[in-house]
């Protein structure tokens, strides 16, 4: 178990280096940062001084080395727009994003699991078809559109919830529901098919033969087996959610990392973009590792 974890951590670190390389290259391709940092009418000498100061006069591989070294120390340079260390800026916005993602994930997991199990138990009935149709539809709804539609109906027309910003729980509800919709649909569909597979097995029949009630058969004997593929998907969905915050936070003006990334991209504030994406990639990798470890807990046959 420990060796497995360490090995996966090492691979994760390598991936992070890879991600840094991608970000580094993307930054290089996008043009000369001094054009952004200095006014248009700056003197060529000043520009050159700036390049030397930023280390841009060094050979590219050396630049990457320096970038990597600084990145591992958490130093991504200063935000061009906000004039403060990029990483601390990103970190200051992170709690808001995590809070939102956590609530959204909770909603998605509960709703997806319950509806998936319900559909499996009601297999072949009208309710099953209804749940499946709703979930297929749910999977096709673009996050940004459904967010706007919710704002329009729930907030603007009915005046039930605030349209944007952060403050109370009620501020969080609409963005979280918006974000939860797609993952809930995906989880529901997978839970249903996985549960149906499990319910057809002999060990489920034996559980019935033993005299278990239907709900005990499903929740005790079925769910843990059925949840093994679902956990993988849930991990992917949680990770994707952190990506999706970019869109959702923009719509709801939620002051989190996602909104920060978009603002930084539109303002060409690359240090912030790099810091945020590196951090999110690190979270992403950590979540994937967590899912793999959870696997071992759920399925006793997996021993690392």
């Amino acid at each position: 178990m420990l060796t497995f974890t360490l090995k996966r951590l090492a691979i994760g670190l390598l991936c992070l280096v890879g991600v840094s390389l991608i970000i580094f290259v993307a930054m290089r391709v996008s043009g000369d940062p001094t054009l952004l940092l200095l006014p248009d009418d700056a003197l060529p000498e000043d520009r050159h001084a700036m390049r030397v100061q930023l280390g841009l006069d060094l050979p590219v591989p050396v630049q990457f080395g320096v970038f990597l070294e600084n990145a591992f120390l958490g130093d991504f340079g200063n935000s061009i727009r906000w004039k403060m260390p990029a990483m601390s800026l990103v970190l200051s916005r992170l709690p808001a994003t995590l809070q939102l993602a956590a609530l959204a994930f909770l909603i998605a997991a509960v709703f997806g699991l319950l509806s998936g199990v319900a559909a499996a138990r009601l297999r072949g009935t009208v309710y099953d078809s209804l749940i499946r149709f709703v979930m297929t539809l749910g999977l096709a709804l673009p996050v940004f559109w459904i967010g706007l539609m919710l704002i329009m109906t729930v907030s603007v027309n009915m005046g039930l919830l605030p349209t944007s910003g952060r403050g109370t729980f009620w501020h969080m509800l609409l963005p979280a529901v918006t974000m939860a919709l797609n993952p809930a649909a995906a989880l529901s569909r997978l839970t249903r098919s996985s549960m149906l597979n499990v319910l057809g097995t002999d060990y489920i029949k034996l559980a019935r033969v033993k005299g278990n009630s239907d709900s005990r058969v499903v929740w005790k004997h079925g769910l843990r087996n059925a949840s093994i593929p679902v956990v993988t998907l849930a991990g992917i969905q949680l990770a994707n959610m952190i990506g999706n915050t970019v869109v959702v936070e923009t719509i709801f003006a939620w002051p989190g990392t996602g909104k920060l990334i978009i603002d930084a991209i539109l303002a060409r504030d690359f240090p912030v973009v790099q810091a945020a994406i590196c951090l999110i990639a690190a979270i992403y990798i950590g979540l994937n590792l967590l899912v793999d470890l959870l696997y071992g807990v759920l399925d006793p046959q997996i021993r690392y």
Partner: protein
Amino acid sequence: MNTVTNGLAWARLGSGWRRLPIFPVILLAPMVIFGILGTHIAPYDPGATNPVNALKPPSWLIGEGFSHLFGTDYLGRDVFSRVIAGARASLTVSVVGVGIAGCVGICAGLVSGYFGGWAETILMRLVDIQMSMPPILLALLLSASLGTGLWMVIFVVAVVFWTNYARVLRGEVLSVRQRDYVVMARVLGCRSHTILRRHILPNVIDSALVVASLQLGAAVILEASLSFLGLGVQPPAIAWGKMIAEAKLYLATAWWLPFFPGLALVITVLGANMLGDWLRDRLDPKLRNS
């Protein structure tokens, strides 16, 4: 998939055509027609402004017949015509993008699955690295640094989606290459590219097709998200995501502005997803959980 020659997807679909996927076809057909014919069938020039007639609700709701089915926007442009025109960007980006991703991903999958070695190591590490980033962030990073425009968006879509093909195809190739007829062909001294083309590709192309169809909907959403965030195709090209973004200011007054482009988007994605489900159930049920 026991024989060498029946690998072609269409052969297996044979009996299936009698049970056409009616629902997906009904959903997708109008979008495809809009995408191809576009402005030729639109009732108005989608770019023509008419400030006098701005922000009119759908005509059939205010008793004006069929003049502006989906209403008009803040510049008086006909929303219905713009929705029709927007289909082109959406379909072009997703189909071409997923297609290019397919070509690249299939090659990568074949090479890494069949030859293994350093090519496999490099390709699969690349896949790992890319998969440690949320796709939307990768897309944003690329658009931000490379710029926008139709071909850039297509490139972004291709970059985001090639990894899935590579992963799935590599797994398939690994299992196919163990089969007797492939081993036999190698023993008989067939050249690698002949084996790949004649024996392996036909047997894994089904999976690629399924992956492609399942990704189509995701690509449509990605394109729309990028244009919503202002990083998609640029004016004068029309994109649904952009229309929705422009409508943000009119949420309280003109619901039809964000509603109809979004509806078109939902219909397209729903159609594509259902087509993907249908193909997967027919061709490759083992991909169900992926």
